[in-house]
């Protein structure tokens, strides 16, 4: 009961966040100096062409009319067209969003699978070799700039060892000669649906390095957070009680201590998932990954406002949804959260 009320309250708040962001994006677009008509008209327009573009884009309409038009376009998922490429933004998002989500989900899984168990084990054997090694690695993973880590991984695994591909989402033998049918836009899913294990393996291999790069930071932080929280909790009396009752060590660590310790780590990993949606520009550029970050950064550089607005909205929704999920997960793991 508490949980449902908690969830509804959170959802309502999220709606206001999305509305607020929509309004902010519109206001910022009005303030930033730029001429959308000139952008739309191409590289060498005449004054007449720019004027015609102004008419086409309704840039002369009063502010409130344009705001209504803007909100309508956003609310219906139409998003309009890009000023720069004149392509339908919805079409572009259908390409860039799955690529981004695939990378973000995969890297989040890596962060979870590496970060949390390592943190638990490091705390269990404080001062042991695993603790020391993982502390060093996690500090390095957090401190290292992503672009540097990306190039380092490329150098070692693609150029030197040659075991993983350098960049892209698939090798040419698939992407050019024998492409996957586009069903969901997620290569892994499409490869499974099409029943093509070789393509699945290829897509997975292409995911490893960019996902590892993106996972380094959240995995490192999560490991440190879990370790610190676990050390504190393992000293508590209920753990001593559980030990006295003769429960197995894994059961104590993962069944009793971890649920109390994992909250902050989940938050960090969740937020870094949301961040990866547009914040992974450098990783996307270095690995030539067709993600939202690249799409948005290009739009920002050319002040392609409809693209920026549409992406901001999509990312806000993903962000808010992710936050909601984290809150829910925390409430499930630790029911006290829902009471506050």
């Amino acid at each position: 009961m508490h949980l449902i009320r908690y969830f509804l309250r959170r959802s309502l708040l999220s709606v206001f966040v999305v509305l607020g962001v929509t309004f902010l994006v519109f206001v910022i677009a009005q303030v930033v100096p730029s001429d959308p008509a000139a952008l739309y008209a191409g590289p060498r327009p005449t004054a007449e062409l720019i004027e015609a573009a102004r008419q086409t884009l309704h840039l002369d309409a009063p502010l409130h009319e344009r705001f209504v038009g803007f909100v309508t376009a956003m609310a219906t998922g139409d998003f309009g067209i890009s000023y720069k490429s004149r392509r339908l933004i919805a079409d572009d998002l259908a390409i860039y969003l799955p690529a981004t989500l695939e990378l973000a989900v995969f890297s989040t899984l890596i962060a979870l699978v590496i970060g949390i168990p390592t943190g638990v084990l490091a705390a269990a054997r404080r001062g042991g070799w695993l603790d020391r090694a993982s502390s060093l690695t996690s500090i390095a993973a957090v401190a290292m700039p992503t672009f540097f880590l990306a190039m380092l991984l490329q150098f070692v695994f693609a150029k030197w060892l040659g075991v993983l591909p350098l960049s892209g989402r698939m090798s040419q033998e698939f992407s050019v000669l024998d492409p996957l049918p586009t069903i969901t836009g997620f290569n892994l899913v499409d490869a499974i649906l099409a029943g093509r294990p070789a393509a699945l393996f290829d897509a997975l291999a292409h995911l490893v390095l960019p996902a590892l790069t993106l996972a380094a930071y959240p995995a490192g932080i999560a490991m440190r957070l879990v370790r610190a929280a676990m050390i504190e909790i393992l000293e508590r009396r209920h753990i001593t009680g559980a030990r006295a009752l003769g429960l197995s060590e894994p059961r104590i660590l993962f069944g009793h201590a971890l649920p109390n310790a994992v909250g902050p780590a989940l938050t960090v990993i969740g937020l870094s998932f949301a961040y990866a949606l547009t914040g992974a520009v450098l990783v996307e550029i270095i690995f030539s990954w067709p993600g939202l970050g690249r799409y948005v950064s290009e739009a920002i550089l050319s002040k392609d406002f409809p693209v920026i607005a549409a992406s901001a909205l999509v990312v806000t929704i993903c962000y808010v949804a992710m936050n909601l999920l984290i809150d829910l997960a925390q409430a499930l793991v630790d029911p006290r959260v829902a009471l506050t």
Binding site: P33, S34, D35, A38, L39, G42, P43, R44, T46, A47, L49, A52, S82, K84, S85, R86, R87, L88, D92, I95, Y96, A99, M151, Q154, A158, K159, L161, G162, V163, L164, P165, L166, S167, G168, R169, S171, Q172, E173, S175, V176, L177, P179, A205, I285, I286, F287, S288, P290, G291, R294, Y295, L301, S302, K303
Partner: protein, 525 residues
């Protein structure tokens, strides 16, 4: 698992990985026996594949899928620049320069099976003119297109223009199928084909790649072992592009870091092709506002520009001293133009003549945000100007904003506007008219230079350029010298074209008239 077992299995895994690495490097095993693929690591995407409106790097794709009536071949190795037949086999111009007759190549079919004839040419040019987007203005002198017989096109003009050159343009001059003239922009961008070119668009995946496949019914020849597919892999990161050509994942790229070129040249698997481009970098002086309304001050500033330093530091010495704004390779280039050299003493003397011996000037220069060459040119120039007591403020701006400021009120605009210019079609008039012809409201003459004698000379030269090109060339050169003496701009450098290509590719020639275009059907491996 105890510690020893863990260590053992780790070691075994490492061995297995290394063994796999030795046996097959990723990507190297890519089957070449199936299809022959030419891969370009291209730094930008292709947003508009509509031959009527495309006006950016999309030309790299369109030049392989569509063809123009003629093709421009730049001056090279002592040979004069010339216009070659393509879809038109021959052409002639009437004595008054107002009527151009093109005789079409026979036996050419479009990708959709339609036949190339006069009607198709007329319809595609008319569609391009009606949509009036992109570079369609190149056709503005055309008042009527007549088709006296199925293989002859006659263009009637409002005033004499070099239609043979206009028809060779890398934008808006493409001829497409009559079946496609009622299609919209989205139809072309969905990857539909309506050209006569040696390749057809198979697929375009924004942010990733464009794939072209061979047109089996292409009218022209192609070398043995030419390519079945052309793949543009969109690769924004120059470091990644370099890794791709080095590893053989890509066959061609450009925009790689100048400081890496020596290493690339030393690699026997790669060839570095350096060629003058048709892109020229210059700074336009605000001639409407003191103190730069005084030609002496402008001349002094140009004398303070560190030409050689910018070329060596900015382009590893590969750039070329600009002789005015018309780059080499274009007819009308003036190899002996009286452009100034760096001479601070002379600059000081000129400033003294202008009553500015004390210096104390403060000037603003706007340039494109993020352009490292323009920023470097500004920094080095600023250092020289400091010695003359002039403070130069460098202001990087997004192009739209830079342009808007320049078009507003000359009295409140920048002092110097740095710009890189490339021509829409290959004539000196493109540079001289757009950048320096008097304009009532500024559009691209963003230094607001106005000299009636200059205007008259280039307008007259342009009228001659269809009928008497040598005479037109002489007139353009004389006019440009006038503008150089007036110091309407500082001519910083002609930018080099640097392309890197795998050395097993045969037949590659860069044609700067079509910027960063590879005519893939000329190549083979």
């Amino acid at each position: 698992m105890n510690r020893r077992a863990l260590l053992k299995s780790t070691a075994l895994t490492a061995l297995a990985v290394a063994g796999y690495a030795a046996s097959s490097r990723w990507g190297a095993a890519l089957a070449q026996d199936g299809a022959r693929i030419f891969t370009l690591a291209y730094p930008a995407g292709f947003p508009d594949l509509d031959p009527a409106t495309s006006f950016s790097n999309d030309g790299a794709v369109l030049a392989n899928t569509y063809e123009t009536l003629t093709r421009y071949i730049p001056a090279r190795d002592g040979a004069e620049a010339r216009v070659e037949p393509l879809l038109a086999e021959s052409w002639e111009v009437s004595a008054d320069g107002l009527s151009w007759t093109f005789h079409l190549r026979s036996g050419v079919t479009f990708h959709d099976g339609a036949e190339l004839n006069a009607d198709a040419v007329k319809k595609s040019i008319e569609r391009t003119m009606t949509i009036a987007g992109g570079a369609s203005f190149i056709w503005s002198p055309v008042t009527a297109i007549e088709t006296p017989d199925p293989m002859t096109v006659v263009m009637k003009l409002s005033d004499p223009q070099p239609m043979d050159i206009i028809a060779s343009a890398g934008f808006a001059a493409w001829i497409y199928s009559p079946n496609a003239v009622d299609k919209d922009n989205a139809w072309f961008n969905a990857g539909n084909n309506a050209g006569t070119g040696p390749y057809m668009v198979e697929r375009y995946e924004p942010g990733q790649r464009a794939i072209l496949t061979r047109n089996e019914t292409y009218w022209g020849g192609r070398p043995e072992a030419s390519f079945d597919k052309v793949v543009f892999e969109i690769t924004e990161d120059a470091v990644l592009a370099q890794s791709k050509v080095e590893s053989g994942e890509a066959d061609w790229s450009y925009g790689l870091a100048y400081e890496n070129l020596e290493a690339l040249k030393a690699n026997p698997e790669l060839a570095v092709v350096v060629n003058p481009s048709f892109e020229t970098l210059f700074g336009m002086y605000n001639t409407r506002r003191a103190p730069l309304d005084n030609p002496k001050v402008r001349q002094a500033l140009s004398l303070a520009f560190p030409y050689d330093d910018v070329i060596s530091a900015g382009t590893a010495g590969l750039g070329v001293r600009a002789k005015g704004v018309v780059p080499p390779g274009i007819w009308g280039h003036d190899a002996d133009a009286p452009v100034p050299d760096t001479d601070l003493e002379l600059a000081r003397a000129l400033l003294a003549e202008a009553g500015l011996a004390e210096g104390g000037l403060e000037l603003t220069m706007t340039y494109a945000n993020g352009d490292s060459l323009e920023s470097l040119a500004g920094e080095l120039w600023k250092a020289n100007l400091e010695q003359l007591g002039i403070t130069l403020t460098l202001q990087p701006m997004a192009w739209e904003a830079q342009w808007q400021l320049a078009k507003s009120d000359p009295a409140a605009a920048q002092d110097i506007l740095v710009l890189l210019w490339w021509p829409t079609f290959i004539t000196p008039y493109d540079y001289l008219f757009n950048l320096f012809h008097s304009e009532e409201t500024p559009n691209f003459n963003l230094g607001y230079y106005s000299n009636p004698a200059f205007d008259q000379m280039i307008d007259a030269a342009n009228i001659l350029s269809g009928t008497d090109r040598p005479k037109a060339e002489a007139a353009f050169i004389a006019a440009q010298r006038l503008m150089i003496e007036d110091a309407a701009a500082v001519f910083m450098m002609d930018r080099p074209n640097v392309h890197v290509i795998r050395s097993d590719i045969k037949g590659y020639v860069d044609n700067p008239a079509y910027g960063h275009v590879v005519f893939a059907n000329e190549l083979s491996r």
